[in-house]
Symmetry: C2
Subunit: 405 residues, 2 copies
Amino acid sequence: MAVGPSTLAAVLHPVKGVRIGIASAGIKKPGRKDVVVFELAESATVAGVFTKNAFCAAPVTVAKQHLAKTSPRYLLINTGNANAGTGEIGMADANSCCVALAELTGFSAEQVLPFSTGVIGEKLPVEKIVAALPQALADFSEGNWEAAATGIMTTDTRPKATSRQIDWQGQSITITGISKGAGMIKPNMATMLGYVACDAQIDTSLLQEIVSEAAEASFNRITVDGDTSTNDACVLIASGTSGVIVTADSELRALLQAEINAVFLELAHAIVRDGEGATKFVAVKVAGANSVEEALKVAYTVAESPLVKTALFASDPNWGRILAAIGRAGVDQLNVDAIAVHLDDVLIAEKGGRAASYTEAAGAAVMKQEEITISINLNRGDVTETVWTTDFSYDYVKINAEYRS
Amino acid sequence: MAVGPSTLAAVLHPVKGVRIGIASAGIKKPGRKDVVVFELAESATVAGVFTKNAFCAAPVTVAKQHLAKTSPRYLLINTGNANAGTGEIGMADANSCCVALAELTGFSAEQVLPFSTGVIGEKLPVEKIVAALPQALADFSEGNWEAAATGIMTTDTRPKATSRQIDWQGQSITITGISKGAGMIKPNMATMLGYVACDAQIDTSLLQEIVSEAAEASFNRITVDGDTSTNDACVLIASGTSGVIVTADSELRALLQAEINAVFLELAHAIVRDGEGATKFVAVKVAGANSVEEALKVAYTVAESPLVKTALFASDPNWGRILAAIGRAGVDQLNVDAIAVHLDDVLIAEKGGRAASYTEAAGAAVMKQEEITISINLNRGDVTETVWTTDFSYDYVKINAEYRS
């Protein structure tokens, strides 16, 4: 179950300098492709954003340490096991995987960034992963983006990838990226896993600025169940192979940032559309707020309210639940009479109650759609923020009551 | 569906000076008893706590105004319609009901406190309620507590009431109370509706202290779905008919406070046990915190995590989800290696991962129970707080996708 047609881009342009190999380690199911290795050109720079969950997984800790010390040449990703909540053994296991890949490729273990996703709290099957590495290396190709998007899935029902090209003053930059995630989705720096590469040449500090800005406006604006993962990581690679140099404060940087923001937002939306049990794709837009914090507080309170989410599942324009959620969001001195709430273009509530012009038929017509925008105008400031979410269905309960081993 | 046997007390002692009448106004269903009127003796004092939801319902606003001005003689409660999100018309409707009851009884409208619970956003059927008032007045009796508990139910599957008596230096105080609520439960000052009466003589300011303390430790420590209602109200009555005078800073006050706290906690627990779709009654106890705020932040994050709640529904000791929720609770400088997590007496996690002594069999045995305590020791301070919650089941989705009209 997912909302709308697949958003997988028809063409995933290869990014020169980025080769990908996929292998089957049999972590959870025999034969399932569950290990993905990225190989980066020597000219590549890498930047990333990671979960702020205090119980961050071992590979997240290791990846951050390695990224701070070296220019990474490999990303090693497995699905089926998150290597989270695994204590010191988990740290040793993440390192062992890096060491094994380094030995096979002739680089240092610190030039490998490890990533894991899957069940929390079980020991990483290091031997299985290490045994699969030669198969992954033998598979290296610049054309493997879609296979990689499939290879990192957990409860996702479909792969998530997008791609675009920029032409600028006779030069060209290619951007391609993938993501995964369906549950435990309320990224706090990044999504479960996202990998985006471009072939421009960008120094690491600028690349970090670009990835932080793009993640803030995309992965940090989505929620499926309000649960921030222990393994969130999002990586942006600039392979440098196009010969196009991007510098800070340049016109090209602004253009590239806009395109990378768009890629990130597409990948973030793809995660929400594939949210566990999702039947609706819902934007919650809060305008007229005094601050970003205030707008997000209201937007997330509405987006995560179980009562609003079950009403969305039922296609019930139960605006009273939306008002109740706004009212408990903790906004100081909120003047409820000033607030207006729309479902798409239908004004449903104003002056503290149902709008005079509102009819159930008009509200019900919007709620029947698969894609809905709930617009809330607080009419007290000029800040607008939007978050994206899903409804709450029987299948969410089913998936999460049954998913583990 | 509700957890455990009914907790309705076998005997609900009448409170002298408090008479109750029940009537059928046919607000949602013909014949359903849906109007409850309390009549209080002239000697009675009344104090209350009310929702902090900014979209508080019209009757809450009116009740607070009346309580500030007079000594109330009547409480008028209806179920089936919350008179919330109804704007100025809702205020006028709440007042009209008070005026009608005042005319029938010869008191002023300000001596009536109105309360409503039920669907949000629909106009209160004032005429139906007013037409039912004579029937309620004719029904006045001190023995109607159980009928009142039934008369204020909405999606509740069973009435909630408790009663106890204190003997002190040859004198006796009776305390009896009722509550209702099953969904939209995360009280922020009080539950959906709670009414507790005793027959001691207590001045209003002391009574307000007593009700605030009791509500803080009971109704303000429960959550079913994290949604704070627009209509929360909890009222404590001291009818004064026993002749026992309670004064501030007295030994009797301490004794009475403890008993009233216990009554409130029983009523609050009864709401959680009857939480929408609930199959488990779960205490989340956080010890070793640096502050009450910190302890509650962790406790509520765990108690409201959809992933923890679906694991509880599945009886799955998925301690990884508990750790992930603790990790995203936003506690500064949390040392995850210091944290210990128990399910009842079973140590499941320590040092950032699964406890060495833990076995799935031991965890599964606890999770199969209907009543479970999740104990989290942060080991960084000496504050302990407990909140109570339920699991998240198919039936929660069903009830809230289907409930409205």
